[in-house]
Symmetry: C2
Subunit: 132 residues, 2 copies
DNA sequence: GTCTATGCAAAGAGTTTGCAGATGT
DNA sequence: ACATCTGCAAACTCTTTGCATAGAC
């Protein structure tokens, strides 16, 4: 097994992910980290985002349109795509509620359910207040 | 507004989608319809799959890994990806249960929830019976 | 006849990968 | 020293698009 070695680039990517709530795409991460490492390459960003996701230190959010997004918050929670502004918001839910959805599904399925991945669509708080 | 015109290719694609339960990828649809129309192009398949999805006569299922899948069953239901064989199974649920998930989400969200898209992961009936 | 759909091939977006050299342990 | 990581560029996958022609109405 390959041993993981420290790298400034990965540390910077992880720090940005943990600090922001923007749910950035790989390209957004690239543009941000580029400020600190002007010569960093997009390939390195992808490699590290996938590494972090595999290690469970970040979450990859697959979205139907365009690129996946990444989240440094690994606490299980949902995401809402605003149909008005396109932004991604967090939706926190109790463990029990999340589990109850799996149980509801398993009751309707001939097989077993382990987990699920949901993307909600709606209107975020900001767009509710300022409808355009 | 452009008027929709009949085409044998689209009819064949739709018929295949309605008849199969395989949740095929665009490429699988292409390979199948190719038997009837050897000169059909992948571009035509994509154009028609998107047309059918836009008209509500088929459903596009975005999956995290690789290509999207298509379903001729437009009745609202969920899908389960088998973590053992990778296949996609249907998971039918009552309208009320589907709505209750939206309500549960909205109770935990500062904004409004319109709908959601869930992909469940688990073990399908076949793989439960024949663990390898 | 007119407008849409097709086939083809090229382009596009997003992501991965091979390699030589830099960096961490 | 040795293995891993980086930057760069090329390759790859999936999907869309421009254009001339074929087909529907």
């Amino acid at each position: 097994m390959a041993t993981l070695k420290y790298s400034r680039q990965r540390a910077s990517i992880k720090e940005y992910l943990m600090q922001t709530h923007e749910h950035p795409t790989a390209d957004t991460v690239y543009l941000h980290v580029k400020k600190e490492f002007p010569h960093i390459s997009l390939g390195t960003v992808y490699r590290n985002l996938n590494l972090l996701a595999d290690m469970g230190e970040a979450v990859k959010i697959p979205t139907p349109d365009g690129g996946d997004r990444f989240d440094g918050d690994t606490h299980p929670h949902y995401h809402v795509i605003c149909t008005s502004c396109g932004g991604v918001s967090d939706l926190m839910m109790d463990k029990e509620h999340i589990r109850s959805i799996n149980e509801l599904a398993e009751a309707n399925f001939d097989g077993t359910i382990e987990h699920h991945n949901t993307l909600f669509y709606g209107t975020c708080a900001k767009c509710c207040r300022n409808p355009h």
